[in-house]
Amino acid sequence: MTATAEGPAAAKEVGAPRKRSEDARLVTGRTRWTDNITPAGTLHVAFLRSPHAHARITRVDTSPAREHPGVVTVLSGSDIADEQGALPCAWVVTEDMKHPDHPPMAVAEVRYVGEPVACVVARDRYAAIDALEEIDVDYEPLPAVTDMEDALAEGADLVHTGLGTNKSYTWVFENGDLDAALRDAPVVLERRYVQQRLIPSAMEPRAVLCVPEGEEFTLYSSTQIPHILRLMLATVTGIPEHRLRVVAPDVGGGFGSKLQVYGEEVIALLLARRLGRPVKWTESRSEGNMTVHHGRDQIQRLTLAAERDGRIRGLKVDLLADMGAYLMLVTPGIPLLGAFMFNGIYKMDAYSFTCSGVFTTKTPTDAYRGAGRPEATYAIERLMDELAAELDLDPIEVRRRNWIGHEEFPYETVAGLTYDSGDYESATEKALGLFDYDALRAEQAARRERRDPVQLGIGVSTFTEMCGIAPSRVLGSLSYGAGGWEHAAVRVLPSGKVEVVTGTSPHGQGHETAWAQITADRLGVPFEDVKVLHGDTAVSPKGMDTYGSRSLAVGGIALSSACDKVVDKARRVAAHLLEAAETDLDFDGGRFSVRGVPEEGRTIQEIASAAFTAHDLPDGLEPSLDSDATFDPENFSFPHGTHLCAAEVDTETGMVRIHRYVAVDDVGKVVNPLIVEGQVHGGLAQGIAQALYEEAVYDAEGNLTTTTMADYLVPSAADLPHFITGRTETPATSNPLGVKGVGEAGTIASTPAVVNAIVDALRPYGVHDVAMPCTPERVWRALRSGSGTGGSGAPPGGTAPGAGGGLGSEGGTR
């Protein structure tokens, strides 16, 4: 009997709320962050960055900077034009996609503020940064392109003159007869929503260190993707893949921003090759705000057709997605991840999705927590509340009339996905109970009745998402440049301790704990006896890394399979030692025993020792229990849930305060409920941040005005409510552990819940929308105009930089 999909009967680690074993070192910083690693002789790099959104570089004079004390070399883009190659884009979404050249350091033209133009290498970081001021660059300014709709107009200024257009691609998906659905539809809602541009704000800034060893190189980087980065750097630089080792040491957060091949990584490698010495670069926060790829930035035009009873006929989605100045690793594909999610959890007959990628003179966009799916979920969940208001129905009831019933799974959606499992009814019932929905509706009515200056609104978000990226065949059909499998290896040491090697690359997710829990159960060894190794291509040679809530749903399955192979090998040794047939052995709690003779047995540790000495093994058996496995999922996983937000809106000031927030998530089987809880809390914080706080703002000249954390507001615990969380558990049927991803769910679900709550509070005042982030001034202006702000992306009161003086008041950053 092999271990079953549910695991050995004595499963006691999976499901246990273990505190994360990696946290002590991560929280104290007594660990290997990239910037903490400084080999003898390390040189430090600083980048000179474009102050213009768009300009021709007519001259770069690096000679004065070369004379600066401590400077080793100064290079401009043209100095290394022949060897720097171009940064890769691995997702060519259409055959005719416009794909401009993207040099790691600009050579002839700059196209966003912050684009690297030159670099200084010096003996210390101070000298490098001081010398930047002595590089002389002449620019011939060109027109900034800051508005997507203007960028597509006839005669618009071009970001890339050679392309002849600012449109990178148009991608279309259609299913069903949308014209028929719209024709004579009793209810047609047309809305325009703007997903503002966001700046991923990982706690650890980017950092890269490249150490040359002869003709070989070890590159340390604060990255989510050591394996992909290694392949891409080999491709860009021509350094053979096997001469290049990439290490992601402990990494302090990424949220997609470190799913990238950055110019600074390429330059560090080239500098180490040129100079034969270790070189290091660590960004500052204000530098990072300009140059880490940004997220979101879409204009959504939506048309929803429905019956008078609220049933949806069809949905038309027309998107403009801001690519920024260049296409980076998966830039063009990000909005398309939403293509399959605009229908949400609802049944409809017709669906049409069109997305155009647009170039602007802004920082390139790419994956940010949720990546395409928050945008889609926002649109459909806002529309469902709009539909409820239009029909004077409760927003929960409108959803009930449209969602897929729990008995209808597996369900093929109008967007062509097959949802394997789900129970929207149970999650919603649970959420309504935790929220005390009826009591809050009564409170809302009472405040409306007495014209309370602080009104109450209730927002609903019944979401699903696709994650566990991804079935390789599906990625292939979308022209993505890689597969979606994941790899794991299990090494059983002579003492019976276990080393797990994973191709996932944790950067805060707690894999070291969760993977040890899975392994402990599958092998029947103590949790403490498992060590998880990751993030180093010399240690973990195969992997697809961590993004898209894939690590457990793909990598966890690979690990589980590798463990099962270990048990199978051990069984053969056990049968031999016990002089019994393999089929007569039971395996439970790490011990093989002869069925019916429980005192006759061998532990997995004894078998490990036997395999090590190899003195008495069955004929033809390799003396090793080590195993590996590669798992390619057949389907995505589809976490879902119901989030409810009650928001208080101060109608005199426009201030919004979250009064109550309930999140019921169904992420299938749970390995570690504490980790799940942490993911949900963090996800909620980021989703709420989009609704209320965060926005990357560019002025008309293309300057980013939110370069500091005084201007780009990231909420802290002090700004967030106490979250009430709950779970339902509908196992995924697409993988043997029944697990679904949890990394992005909170972010995806929460943004529309909050905005729906704000709009719900203000409907009696004639407000039907407030643009994100719903700042106090925007809410106040929506109240005054009585019609909402119509989703304008421009902040109120102009785009003047500098909230603040010495970062705090008006003149601060001028």
Binding site: T708, L713, D719, G806
Partner: protein, 284 residues
């Protein structure tokens, strides 16, 4: 980013500090906790030739009862001020406002005097000092002088102190029985600067307002005294309606900034709403 090169001096006494400041010339900066200055240095928005660190000048941390006034040493940390029993009893407006400054880490390093000398109109304490008619005691090698709060804040991040003058302490007239105080801070996140703040103290007298003192944060290049409102409520009823009516004039004469967090128009509106609320809270 990281700062440009500077000289660093760490005096142990006030005399040494004043001498160091005189010697250093015009391009010296006092480091008094560093919570505002260090970000400016790191972003290379300020390039002082030298920093004079007051961290070791312990006498400047003292908070003392001087009869009718309270003396708060320039180097008293925000944390120290918030917890000080004298401040809580005789200058509750300072305690309340200081509690809202940034976050605990900043409040442990940042100082009362540093914050005032920085003269950032978006900072919380300048408006408080103005409302309380605080008096600033400054010293240079040329001698000591006192500067009333009404004269201290000259322009955006500019005080009336000469480059060679060091802020030693601030005298706060005590608010006795009958006074209530409130700091109404309006900001988007806990760590963000006030879009508008209202520092308010009210003395009640026989069920009416005996006297009110009101100053506004981030409504101009300096903290702004809302004199019109003070006059309008004095002698009037303690009532929400009266406060709202008087507060209509809160932004009179102010020239509030416009930035990402609020337009001038919005700040004017906020000033009226928040002033009425601050009056009601202080009078309750």
């Amino acid at each position: 980013m990281i700062p440009a090169t500077f000289d660093y001096v760490r005096p142990g006494t006030v005399d040494e500090a004043v001498t160091a400041l005189a010697d250093a010339g015009e391009d010296a900066k006092i480091l008094a906790g560093g919570q505002s200055l260090m970000p400016l240095l790191r972003l290379r928005l300020a390039y002082p030739d030298s920093l004079i660190d007051l961290d070791r000048v312990d006498p400047l941390r003292e908070i003392r009862d001087e009869g009718d006034t309270l003396m708060i040493g320039a180097m008293a940390t925000h944390h120290q001020v918030v917890r000080d029993p004298l401040v809580r009893e005789f200058a509750p407006l300072i305690a309340r406002a200081t509690e809202t400054v940034a976050d605990p880490a900043v409040r442990h390093r940042g100082t009362f005097g540093g914050s005032l000398a920085h003269a950032d109109p978006a900072g919380d304490l300048p408006a408080v000092a103005l409302a309380l008619d605080a008096v600033f005691l400054v010293r240079s090698v040329r001698g000591e002088r006192e500067i009333p709060a009404a004269d201290f804040f000259v322009d955006w991040m500019t005080s009336a102190m000469e480059p060679d003058e060091l802020l030693l302490s601030v005298r706060i007239p005590k608010l006795g029985a009958g006074w209530g105080a409130h700091y109404e801070k309006f900001h988007r996140t806990a760590q963000a600067w006030a879009i508008v703040g209202v520092a308010c103290a009210v003395r009640r007298e026989n069920g009416t307002v005996g006297e009110a003192r009101i100053a506004l944060t981030n409504m101009g290049s300096t903290p702004v005294r809302a004199s019109e409102v003070e006059r309008a409520v004095a002698g009037g009823a303690v009532s929400e309606a009266a406060f709202r009516s008087a507060a209509e004039h809160a932004a009179d004469g102010a020239e509030p900034p416009a930035d990402l967090h609020g337009s001038s128009e919005y700040r004017r509106h906020l000033a009226t709403v928040l002033t009425a609320r601050a009056l009601a809270a202080a009078a309750s």
